[in-house]
């Protein structure tokens, strides 16, 4: 009897370890490490500003650790993206109010357009390709960013979570707080729009 309980516990522990291996993280720190860059780029695409994106990601991390640190690692990802989306919506709301109250603030130049002069700041995260390839890629990224930004908010969220993050429909529905059917519709419409917008984009 005791042996069977021990065996059962051992099996459960093994299954938890297996799930954690499949996830690629077991602690909150590892999770945040795996997700932070993507979250940052998603927020930057949505807001068009690095500093704002950084604030949004930091707030999301803070809230996840504070409120949902005791949840299982499987739940962290949908929760984190739900928080990230909420923070992004909050940003849009605040910006809308600010633009109404201070209309001239709309014309403040975007800090992302200003080129940094520090060579360390400009260094990429990895040593890679030739300059030509880098320029080509940056142009493609720019085109993709513009096209993704042209999507309605819900479609953009569905696209980012499904395509970029590789989340399942169930996880995406959880993160977007909507039904799986809605996720499928948003994602399908997003892909349709992107196909039209990126018509001349070579994706072979």
């Amino acid at each position: 009897m005791t042996l069977s309980v021990v065996e059962k516990t051992a099996t459960e522990e093994q299954s938890i370890e297996g799930a954690q291996k499949a996830l690629g993280y077991s602690s909150m720190e590892e999770f945040l490490k795996t997700i932070e860059r993507r979250a940052f780029h998603m927020a930057r695409m949505a807001t068009g500003n690095s500093d704002t994106a950084m604030d949004i990601v930091q707030d999301s991390m803070y809230k996840l650790v504070e409120k949902y640190g005791d949840k299982t690692p499987q739940e962290w990802k949908p929760l984190f993206y739900r928080i990230l989306n909420s923070k992004t919506i909050d940003y849009y709301r605040r910006k809308a109010v600010r633009d109404r109250v201070f209309p001239w603030s709309k014309y403040v130049p975007n800090s992302d357009n200003e080129q940094s002069t520090d060579i360390v700041d400009l260094a990429p995260g990895r040593i890679s390709d030739t300059p030509d390839e880098m320029i080509m890629r940056s142009q493609r990224i720019e085109k993709i960013t513009q096209s993704v930004n042209a999507l309605p908010r819900r479609q953009r969220e569905a696209f980012m979570l499904r395509c970029w993050e590789g989340m399942s429909t169930i996880e995406t529905a959880e993160a977007m707080k909507c039904s799986q059917g809605s996720v499928k519709t948003h994602y399908s419409r997003a892909m349709h729009t992107l196909r039209d917008l990126l018509e001349d984009y070579n994706y072979d």
Binding site: M61, D121, G125, R140, I144, C163, Y203
Partner: protein, 120 residues
């Protein structure tokens, strides 16, 4: 056919976005690491630490307001006080007159008796 194109587009976009992710600028990678560490270190105790000084400050301000509210302030020298002082003074003066009157009472009795004797 459309599904195949969608699938190709999906794969291609996924690759591009992952490249973008991998090529995050060093400055932003550093800032993200800072943000992560800050979130991990502060989130556990941040609210509790902040709660106590906030509560303390609000309690102190309430006590301060209560102290000033209930403290006996020196009353200004108004009309009422002046009249009180005047009446006290006059009462004192009146008392002095009465004392003199009582002291001279024997003289008035003698005078009255003399007058009665003269008339009677």
């Amino acid at each position: 056919m459309t599904n195949q194109i969608d699938h190709q587009l999906e794969n291609s976009l996924q690759q591009e976005l992952q490249c973008l992710e991998n090529e995050t600028e060093a400055r932003n990678v550093f800032r993200l690491a800072q943000a992560r560490n800050r979130a991990l270190s502060q989130a556990g105790s941040g609210r509790k630490k902040g709660f106590i000084p906030t509560l303390g400050a609000s309690m102190a301000s309430i006590l301060l307001v209560a102290f000033f509210f209930f403290q006996e302030a020196p009353t200004p020298l108004g009309n009422e006080t002046i009249s009180d002082i005047n009446s006290a003074d006059s009462a004192f003066e009146f008392d002095d007159e009465n004392v003199e009157l009582y002291e001279d009472l024997d003289f008035y009795y003698w005078l009255a008796d003399n007058e009665q004797g003269a008339t009677g």
